[in-house]
């Protein structure tokens, strides 16, 4: 079993698992941190950004100044943002049979795989993952395509320039066309493996992946669609929990993870020192403080996920903080869909939220915020928003990288006043880097990363509980974070030590193949005639067809010769009728040489010599110029074209053996 690690990002993994004849991709994350090296894409022309000085070398050489701009000591590429794709050359991606998507954050690279690699398999994801992933992709495409950039810089990536260290930015980007991320590319290949429309709480559904795997979705976790795949390849058990905890989602059923051979751990918290509860409190306090002083609050965020938690928290808080008359705006091309989708996936939510549905009430309170006009949502800055807009207010909008989306406009608008505050809640991007092209900035910046993924304490509890034989994780998890090198608690500590992987690495997973269980159909078993060959051991010959499907092996009675079916254009190999030859009986037992020689003599053979060999005996009939080679598992009669003699000798040999 081999694991091909196509991404080095611990929370945006893309691993491919090869086992027996099946190739499975686990998640397909797109690393977007590379966009931080690019200039923001303003919705309207920004004089400040367009007047940034071009970057020139120390010696005054300014041949890159069209492509690279300088802002407050940082250099940015003035071009369409580019992303860091998973490795495409480590393994032939057209051989991937199945892609399992555990959550919507980890599917953004899917179009690159499904479109450009010859991939012809199936993608599995839960319904919320599919729906919200689609929203995220649509938003991303919308953000980038609506401000087409005339310039597409490439000179800075020139190998010579890079080699000479002339450019400060290292290009690791393989693909620079995010706009090709189109949902339709993926749509036809995705199977919603839990597409229940009902609101009834439902146990983890099982789904079958060909003959090799049986998988189980253990838990829809935080942010609507985090979940856990567990599958049982053959008899072994392998678990993959890219898990996240949050109060509003169903708790994880850990029982199925027990005694795994290998546990692949990815997607743990990115900010292990920040406790989400404390950060939510911090978020509320800073928000209230700003608004009470007459300032505006900007919250760069994704259109789904933590925003639900924040809105729920604010719902409880705004009245008590006297903020009832402060408008909350949620601006995203998919704002409406996101808010509505979140309310219809109740079966994925925790018990409290599910019970609300039966009352019936919407599981999330933002419906009430919208009804009471406290929360308003708009697809973009244009249109209704500009007429409704009043300050001070709180704006939730994307993109958290501050490089594209409506957030760019608000940064330009509010950045100059110290009354305003930008509060970072998404942990995916370094807030200091995100802010770099907006410097100098007067507005206050608060960093409250809310990361509800598993933290290291929870992981260590999980590992204690489920006791996997081996743990595989990104190399980042095997040592404390560089900024907190003394925090030995911020790493995975298990015995044997976790196997770590990095980008473009191939791991051989310590996985031993063992016997497999095969069932025999009753009618076939009835037909068997066992023969006792030793006390307690009986043998029988079986003629059957081995039927292997869904990881189960069954021996079925051989079909009777039937008429060729014809008509079907395509037949699967398993349905082909095997050729049934006439079966010869099988022999068992051993030949006692002395008695055999006596029998030969009785039948008129003389001048018999017996030689002992390493493996058995050779009986030499000198007169007949014939040689009988008796070994443990074979007997050969070597005579010179005398078929009659051979048959006679064979029959004599057979007398000593049992047939069945």
């Amino acid at each position: 079993m081999k694991l091909y690690c196509l991404s080095g990002h611990p929370t945006l993994p893309c691993n491919v698992l090869k086992f027996k004849s099946t190739t499975i991709m686990l998640d397909c994350g797109l690393d977007m941190t590379s966009t931080l090296n690019f200039l923001p894409l303003p919705l309207v022309q920004s004089p400040r950004l367009s007047n940034l000085p071009g970057w020139s070398l120390k010696d005054g050489n300014a041949f890159l100044d069209k492509e690279l701009k300088e802002c407050s000591g940082h250099v940015f590429v003035d071009s369409v943002p580019e992303f860091c794709l998973p490795e495409t050359e480590l393994i032939d991606l057209s051989t991937v049979d199945v892609i399992l998507i555990s959550n919507y954050h980890c599917m953004m690279a899917l179009p690159y795989i499904t479109e450009h690699t010859g991939f012809s398999g199936t993608v599995y994801a839960t319904e919320p993952t599919v729906q919200i992933g689609r929203l995220l992709m649509e938003e991303l495409v919308n953000f980038i395509e609506r401000v087409p950039k005339a310039q597409s810089a490439s000179l800075w990536k020139n190998k010579d320039i890079q080699r000479e260290g002339l450019c400060l930015i290292q290009p690791i980007y393989r693909e620079r066309r995010p706009c090709h991320v189109l949902w339709s590319c993926v749509e036809n290949q995705i199977i919603q493996c839990s597409g229940s429309q009902s609101m009834i709480p439902r146990p983890a559904p099982g789904a079958s992946l060909g003959s090799l795997l049986e998988m189980q979705i253990l838990r829809p976790t935080s942010n609507l669609n985090r979940k856990l795949w567990v599958w049982h390849p053959a008899i072994h058990l392998l678990a993959y929990p890219p898990a996240e905890f949050s109060l509003v989602f169903q708790p994880m059923d850990q029982a199925s993870l027990k005694n795994s051979d290998v546990l692949i751990l990815t997607g743990l918290t990115q900010i292990p020192t920040a406790n989400p509860d404390g950060m939510v409190g911090e978020f509320c306090s800073n928000l209230a403080l700003t608004v009470r002083n007459g300032g505006n609050v900007l919250v760069p965020c994704y259109p789904s996920g933590v925003i639900y938690d924040l809105l729920e928290c604010l719902y409880q808080y705004i009245d008590s903080a006297g903020l009832s008359n402060i408008p909350f705006y949620f601006i995203s091309p998919v704002a409406n869909s996101s808010l509505e989708f979140s309310q219809i996936f109740a079966e994925w939510l925790c018990h409290n939220k599910q019970t609300k549905v039966y009352l019936p009430e919407p599981p999330f309170p933002h419906a009430e915020l919208i009804q009471t006009n406290k929360l308003k949502h708009y697809p973009s800055l244009h249109g209704d928003f500009s007429s409704d807009f009043r300050q001070p207010c709180v704006v939730f909008t994307g993109h958290p990288s501050l490089r594209f989306g409506d957030v760019v406009h608000f940064m330009e608008l509010w950045g100059k006043s110290s009354l305003n505050t930008v509060i970072f809640t998404e942990p995916d991007f370094s807030y200091l880097e995100a802010l770099a092209p907006y410097q100098p900035l007067a507005m206050k910046c608060i960093y409250c990363p809310i990361d509800t993924r598993l933290n290291f304490i929870q992981v260590s509890k999980l590992l204690k509980e489920v006791q996997p034989l081996h743990v595989v994780c990104p190399e980042q998890y095997t040592q404390p974070p560089p900024a907190q090198s003394h925090r030995m608690d911020l790493m995975i500590d298990c015995q044997p030590p976790a196997m770590s992987y990095r980008r473009a690495e191939v791991l051989a997973l310590p996985f031993k193949r063992r016997y497999e269980k095969i069932e025999i159909m009753p009618e076939l078993a009835d037909a068997l005639v066992p023969m006792e060959i030793k006390p307690g051991i009986s043998l029988a010959t079986v003629s059957a067809v081995l039927h292997t499907k869904d990881n189960k092996h069954i021996l079925q009675p051989p079909p009777r010769p039937a008429q060729p079916t014809g008509g079907k254009k395509r037949k699967r190999a398993a349905e082909d009728i095997p050729d049934c030859k006439v079966l010869k009986p099988l022999l068992s037992g051993s030949i006692p040489v002395e008695q055999f020689v006596q029998t030969l003599e009785k039948h008129g053979f003389s001048d018999i010599k017996v030689e002992d060999t390493a493996k058995g005996h050779i009986v030499l009939l000198q007169e007949a110029e014939t040689l009988i080679q008796i070994e443990e598992d074979s007997t050969h009669i070597i005579c010179d074209n005398d078929e009659m003699l051979r048959v006679r000798l064979r029959d004599l040999v057979l007398k000593f053996l049992q047939k069945f």
């Binding site: 406790n275 939510v280 409190g281 800073n286 928290c313 903080a321 003394h486 925090r487 608690d489």
Partner: protein
């Protein structure tokens, strides 16, 4: 006993003796027993029995084989004990063979009733009461009770086992008093047989291998040395101390907690001269043998002792410091001399050895910190006190818990993992740090203290309780920060700290967690009270958003927060800190609006806490002659009293009376003497006649309020009103000019109205009162009598023995009726 009770008693005894009429409530039996105790303490038990033969009948009835309730049986045993405590009564009961039958083998001891713990407990308590004289000792020896008591020490019921131990101690003490009350022999061999038997039993238990037996023996000894300080106790200790010391040889040491209790009890006993009986050596030996967790309480106890050898004190102090020394060592970059004594005793906690589990480590640290904090204010605390190392250890602990410590060695990293985010240690360390503020420390350490406090105040992960403690510790450190001579303002370092602190406070005032908002407001109030008048503080505070945010919290949804905001705003306003300095022209308006806002809270807030807070602020404002109040005091007082008098919360009404009293004092110009801290406001002395002086009081309808409060259904309000009127009467006693109005018709009508009020009909208003009428009414009222009645507890009528007996009979009667209904 009064005749009414005597009449009721036979019926009650009959009921008690009747197994078909069970007592539903055994608290009645307890009260009944208490009553008998008071009777027997005051008079002769024998007489009681002779006058009430029903009691003896009841006791005799207990001897008959029947299905009696265990409660009644237990009660009877205890009653017998109470009665037999007097020797003549004991003889009387002895003659009737009652005692041996009740307490001997023939009684419940051998019967089925003995299975009930209540009966066993009653038997012990009966004997405990009975064992007061030499005859009782003979009786005990004769009926073999002591052996039964020994076995009861192992009773399954903890109460019974504990009572058995206490009884042994009591019997031992009694038997050692000697036959004729003379001094007992100091030779153990000459002790009375009973005492020898008990001591023998203790010795045997101490030699036992089972821990429970050892624990019992140690507990008996602890109680003995704690209660009895006669010279014979020293003989006892000398005899037993080798056995006690022998316990230390065992591994693990059995009953360590009880052993510590015993040693401390012996050490505290004035009857023993510690030096002569090897106690110090035993203590030192015990300290070194016990585990750090067990040794902590012993070390603290030793350090609290008055006269104790210096070496032992040093050893005990080292035990207490050991966990902190370990932390210090684990964190020290340079393992040079730290100043904290090394953990040289106790073995398992020395640095370098891996710490035990998280729970054990946390428990040990918390206990150590708590012990040191207890020791800190005591005069006998060790000297020199290692202030600086302790300060360093507390700061380090807090850094470890907060995740900001950077340990250099593995041990430190391990500690860091154990303690990270541990709220218990954080709370204990913050308390300890606060307590350490009374001493001084090197400048750089104090800087570290403020830094770590700021870290905790800032951290989003600080739990509300931790934050509250951080605020408290911060305030204590600010209070004790070095002051510039001759200047009461904060020192420059503290002011710098304040500049960092105020933004944190701002954020905390907006916290979604109400406990955080509340403790932030309390902290602000404390700060303002102390430094509100100082320029540096005022400047920093006014430059921040804190006053504005505090004002907004007056409308907080949580009533506790509103109450704290009211107090904080009251304090800010008293110091003139409510207004931004930019707009002096708005000053009046702003202040007015706060007064209006507080009045609004007082009249409309649905919760009591904010309204109480408003009343306290108003009272303080009146006392301090707050600018806003001083403008039109009469109108202010009239408005407040009108609202307060109708409040449903008695505390608000009581506070209203307090405000009325302040106004009364100010009007009469004579503050009450029992209020030494009250600032005497510059009120004009009553120049005119008394009537004129009382006019303002009448105008604000103060007396209307006070008379109404006199008959308030809540006693504290009535008491307060009583005090107020008594004060007024005392103040006006010298003035006789108004005597003649005693019989005017107004007075009569007011008195009539008051009588109706007292009867519960408070609908009728008093109308406008004239000073003369008020004074006449005040003089005519029996205020002293009223005060006396109010001072009685509310159930003084229902508490009489007669009522108890009636209640018990009535309960049984009701039960009987129900029974009849069933058929």
């Amino acid at each position: 006993m009064d005749p009414e009770c005597s009449q009721l008693l036979p019926a009650l005894c009959a009921v008690l003796a009747d197994p078909r009429q069970p007592m539903a409530d055994d608290t009645c039996l307890e009260k009944l027993l208490d009553w008998f105790k008071t009777i027997t303490e005051a008079g002769s038990s024998l007489l009681l029995l002779q006058e009430n033969p029903c009691l003896v009948e009841l006791l005799c009835h207990m001897l008959k084989p029947q299905d009696l309730s265990s409660r009644v049986l237990s009660f009877s045993l205890r009653l017998t004990g109470v009665l037999a405590a007097q020797e003549d009564c004991f003889q009387y009961l002895q003659q009737g063979e009652l005692l041996p039958k009740l307490f001997g083998e023939a009684g419940p001891l051998g019967g089925a009733a003995w299975t009930s713990p209540a009966v066993r407990s009653g038997w012990i308590q009966g004997l405990r009461s009975l064992a007061q004289h030499a005859s009782a000792l003979h009786f005990l020896a004769h009926c073999g009770a002591v052996d039964t008591i020994f076995s009861l020490q192992e009773d399954s019921s903890l109460f019974v086992a504990s009572a058995a131990g206490q009884l042994l101690v009591h019997i031992l003490g009694l038997s050692m008093q000697g036959p004729a009350g003379g001094p007992p022999s100091l030779q153990a061999g000459d002790w009375p047989a009973c005492a020898q038997k008990i001591v023998g039993h203790i010795e045997e238990s101490l030699r036992a291998t089972a821990t429970p037996q050892i624990t019992q023996a140690l507990n008996v000894l602890t109680t003995t040395f704690g209660h009895c300080h006669n010279p014979w106790t020293q003989v006892l200790w000398v005899q037993l101390s080798p056995l006690v010391a022998g316990l230390l040889e065992k591994d693990p040491i059995p009953a360590a907690h009880s052993l510590v209790d015993l040693l401390l009890s012996v050490a505290r006993s004035p009857g023993l001269s510690s030096s002569s009986c090897g106690l110090w050596e035993t203590l030192a030996q015990t300290l070194s043998h016990l585990s750090p967790t067990q040794a902590g309480p012993l070390a603290l106890g030793i350090l609290k002792l008055q006269d104790c050898p210096q070496a032992l004190r040093a050893q005990a102090f080292a035990v207490l410091l050991q966990p902190l020394a370990c932390v210090f060592k684990a964190m020290a970059q340079d393992p040079g001399p730290s100043g904290v004594p090394d953990g040289t005793v106790g073995g398992s906690m020395t640095a370098g050895v891996p710490l035990p589990s998280k729970a054990a480590c946390v428990g040990l640290l918390c206990r150590s910190l708590a012990h040191l904090e207890l020791l800190l204010p005591l005069p006998q605390r060790p000297c020199p006190w290692p202030q600086a190392p302790l300060l360093g250890a507390a700061v380090t602990l807090l850094q470890l818990c907060g995740g900001s410590a950077r340990p250099a060695c593995d041990m430190g990293r391990h500690l860091c993992t154990l303690l990270l985010g541990c709220v218990r240690v954080q709370r204990a360390a913050l308390d300890f740090l606060g307590a350490l503020s009374d001493g001084t420390g090197p400048r750089e350490l104090v800087t570290q203290v403020f830094a770590v406090l700021l870290e905790y105040l800032r951290s989003p992960d600080s739990s509300p309780t931790v934050l509250k403690k951080a605020f408290q510790a911060t305030f204590r450190w600010l209070l004790n920060s070095p002051k510039t001579p001759g200047c009461w303002d904060l020192d420059p370092h503290a002011l710098l700290f304040l500049r960092d602190l105020l933004p944190v406070l701002q954020k905390r005032l907006c916290s979604p967690c109400w406990e955080v908002r509340d403790s932030s407001l309390e902290f602000l109030t404390q700060m303002t009270r102390h430094w509100g008048g100082q320029a540096g503080f005022r400047h920093a505070l006014l430059a921040s958003e804190v006053p504005k945010l505090t004002e907004q919290l007056l409308r907080d949804p949580e009533s506790y927060v509103r109450a704290s905001a009211v107090t904080a705003m009251g304090q800010l306003s008293s110091q003139g800190l409510c207004v931004p300095p930019a707009g002096p022209e708005h000053q009046g308006g702003q202040q007015k609006s706060l007064l209006v806002e507080l009045l609004h809270i007082l009249s409309t807030d649905s919760e009591g806490f904010p309204r109480r807070a408003v009343m306290q602020v108003f009272t303080q404002w009146l006392r301090d002659s707050h600018a806003d109040v001083a403008g039109d005091t009469e109108q202010f007082v009239a408005g407040v009293l009108q609202v307060a008098s109708q409040d449903l919360d008695w505390e608000v009404r009581a506070q209203g009376l307090e405000l009325a009293l302040v106004f009364l004092e100010q009007t009469l110009g004579q503050p009450r003497s029992h209020c030494p801290h009250a600032v005497t406001p510059p009120v004009e002395a009553p120049v005119g006649p008394l009537a004129q002086a009382l006019q303002p009081l009448c105008r604000v309808r103060l007396f209307d309020f006070a008379f109404r409060a006199l008959f308030d259904c809540d006693r504290p309000v009535a008491q307060k009103s009583c005090d107020l009127l008594l004060f007024l009467r005392a103040q006006t006693a010298s003035s006789s000019s108004l005597q003649e109005s005693r019989s005017s018709p107004d007075v009569a009508s007011v008195e009539a109205a008051l009588q109706r009020w007292q009867a519960g009909d408070q609908a009728q208003p008093l109308g406008d009162l004239e000073p003369e009428v008020v004074l006449a009414v005040v003089r005519s009222l029996d205020l002293e009598g009223l005060r006396g009645a109010l001072a009685e507890s509310s159930d003084h009528v229902e508490k009489s023995p007669q009522s108890l007996l009636q209640d018990m009979l009535a309960t049984v009667g009701v039960l009987g009726e129900n029974e009849a209904d069933c058929y």
